[in-house]
């Protein structure tokens, strides 16, 4: 079984079909998350204080640790690509495995954070309050927060799955050319998911100055 984004039988071999495909996909994803950012921007512009009050309730430490985890995982993926081009596929597999572990750690920490927010009553709904007081726009912050981080997590989970499958297949020497292409395309996706988080992080955790 080959990957969905594998190249077609072509009359003229060209090395960048998978990469171009991934760039186009990333463009569509940029608009996907971009629309969410627009909704955030409009709502925050209307109610800056409410957003600040809501952001103050987010868990700064989990968010920051998670950022470091994700950035490190991107470094792992970059190393995997480098090792595959210049070294053995075994090293690349290990680096990919590192990315899988770190990505999974991110998701685990995220789940802990969500659970904590749920128990503190921060999940939006008809009976939502902020510390017992109704703050409608603050509720919207959390609505946006759960949608954005939820979609981000789905993208990350898909990335982890692909990384795991890719890692197990790198040992097939016969497809060396395609593997480089695929890993390069995969790396683009993983780095994009990372960039989305980097954009989300200040919008979630850094709205108000923290003491």
């Amino acid at each position: 079984m080959s990957f969905v984004f594998g190249p077609a039988r072509r009359t003229v071999p060209q090395p960048s079909v998978a990469a171009l495909g991934m760039w186009v996909f990333i463009a569509s994803e940029a608009l996907f998350f971009g629309a969410l950012l627009f909704a955030y921007g409009v709502t925050r512009w209307h109610s800056p204080a409410a957003f600040a009050a809501a952001s103050a309730k987010t868990d700064f430490w989990i968010g920051t640790v998670n950022t470091a985890v994700l950035l490190t995982s991107s470094a792992c993926v970059a190393m995997a690509g480098d090792r595959l081009r210049h070294g053995t596929s075994r090293a690349a597999e290990l680096w990919l495995g590192g990315a899988v572990l770190l990505g999974s750690l991110f998701l685990a920490l995220k789940a802990i954070e969500w659970r904590s927010e749920w128990t503190h009553g921060l999940f939006p709904g008809p009976s939502w309050t902020l510390d017992g007081h109704p703050r409608p726009a603050a509720e919207l912050f959390f609505a946006w927060y759960f949608v954005s981080t939820g979609l981000h997590a789905v993208h990350l989970a898909i990335g982890i799955a692909f990384a795991a499958v890719l890692a197990t297949r790198l040992s097939r020497a016969s497809e060396r050319f395609e593997h480089n292409e695929r890993l390069h395309a995969f790396g683009l996706y993983w780095h994009f998911v990372d960039v989305v988080w980097i954009v989300l992080y200040p919008l979630i955790y850094l709205v108000a100055p923290r003491t």
């Binding site: 009359t11 186009v24 971009g34 509720e139």
Partner: protein
Amino acid sequence: MIDGTEPSYLRDGLSLRSWLLSTDHKRIAILYALAITAFFFIGGAAATLIRIELATPAGDLVSDDAYNKLFTAHGVIMVWLFLIPSIPSVVGNFVLPLMIGARDLAFPRLNLLSWYLYVAGGLIILAALATGGVDTGWTFYTPYTTMFSNSSVVLTLVGIFVTGFSSILTGLNFIVTIHLLRVPGLGWFRLPLFVWSTYATSLILVLATPVLAITTVLLVAERLFQIGVFDPAHGGDPLLFQHLFWFYSHPAVYIMVLPAMGVVSEIIPCFASRSLFGYRFMAYAVLAIAGVGFLVWGHHMFVSGQSPLANLVFSLLSFIVAVPSAIKVFNWTATLYKGSIRFDAPMLYALGFVGLFTIGGLTGLFLASLALDVHLTDTYFVVAHFHYIMVGGAVMAFFGALHFWWPKVTGRLYPEGLARAAALIVFFGFNLTFFPQFLLGYQGMPRRYHAYPPEYTVLNVLSSAGASILAVGYLMPLAYFAWSLWRGARAADNPWQAAGLEWQTASPPPTHNFDAPPRAPEVPYDYPPRPAEQNA
């Protein structure tokens, strides 16, 4: 249905499984054609009921809720299950790789996935219709959709979300294919205009559809969890929905019309036996329409409570986006000059497109004018405007494409006499249906009215009469195309003597498209000069 002795893609596997698991772009195009035809007639059935109801002022055929569900079903099905996929996924899928000398699209398996996503989304939408329907209008305005509608809103939105991914993946496939799989020597300015149009359409598919996806996610979240993003009582804003929705839905109309323009740019040079006039401007115009088309969405919101400054900006940009379309109409007309013109069915549809798209486009100027739009928006003037473009334009072009490439796709000829008659019946029926609606709109008949005040009766009766004629025009091809598959004469490789690489291979083509990579033409629309005795 089996063609002559040569092995073609049609004979390459005869089981159902070989069709349903095929990654051959030509077979996938046919899978799309079958699904799209089914949805077209379902959407058309809704339209038929609407026009029967509107033949009398009283709401006496169906209840008001049923009527609201009918016009919503018509809009949702026609927009997402017919117009958006029709030319790209049927014509584009089949013809694009052939036009550039490629064996298939860049990602053939992704292409098959696109079809399954489309069918899945379509079935989900049909399930929503079967479980009580949805009554919000295809525009799903909030807070009615999220707080007041008692209908299958969430299911419909999920179906739209799924078909959206079909669109995005198709666009992605086309972009990569056009960039990387052209036969050597086929530079950008040697490409047929249909390729340019498909490319511009694909850019919109990839960049606009994700915004729709997020919008449906937010709508579903609001409806299921009352998160408040569109609810003023929770600090939300109903106008935020309109901005998000129209940011996609305006470029969406260019998804529907740009491929149609591409088809017309293929048909007219062929049946005028001469090269397209103004090739470069035509190519740039297509890109300009796609680009500027992203900047005009606010013209759907002139009376929504949007600021007057925003209204001015969107109005000006809406006038600007009309310019490249005007250029195209002039260039198609100029392509007839000094040609040698044949009036086969594809040409009748293409000329019909030019006329009806011109009227539809010109009426867009009325709506772009702020003071006029205040009166005309949300009336039947708008309904007439967009049907002139979508039906008089895109559907006519789709039918033109079906007739033009029918011999290539099936290896058969359709009956020309019946086809011409159907084209003329469609043209006449269409105008009788929709022209009165411009007048209805100026007289103030609002949209989405189940029953209407009696002063609007005469024009509504005319419109409904036209619809019955239009229906005949649409049913005829169903009959004679089916007949052609069994009894039509066999087609040669190039029955129209058309330029274009797709005509350099057999009708129907082999699975691998070309036995040897074809040679790129020196110039596009390489039609030979007329024989001397034809000249005056």
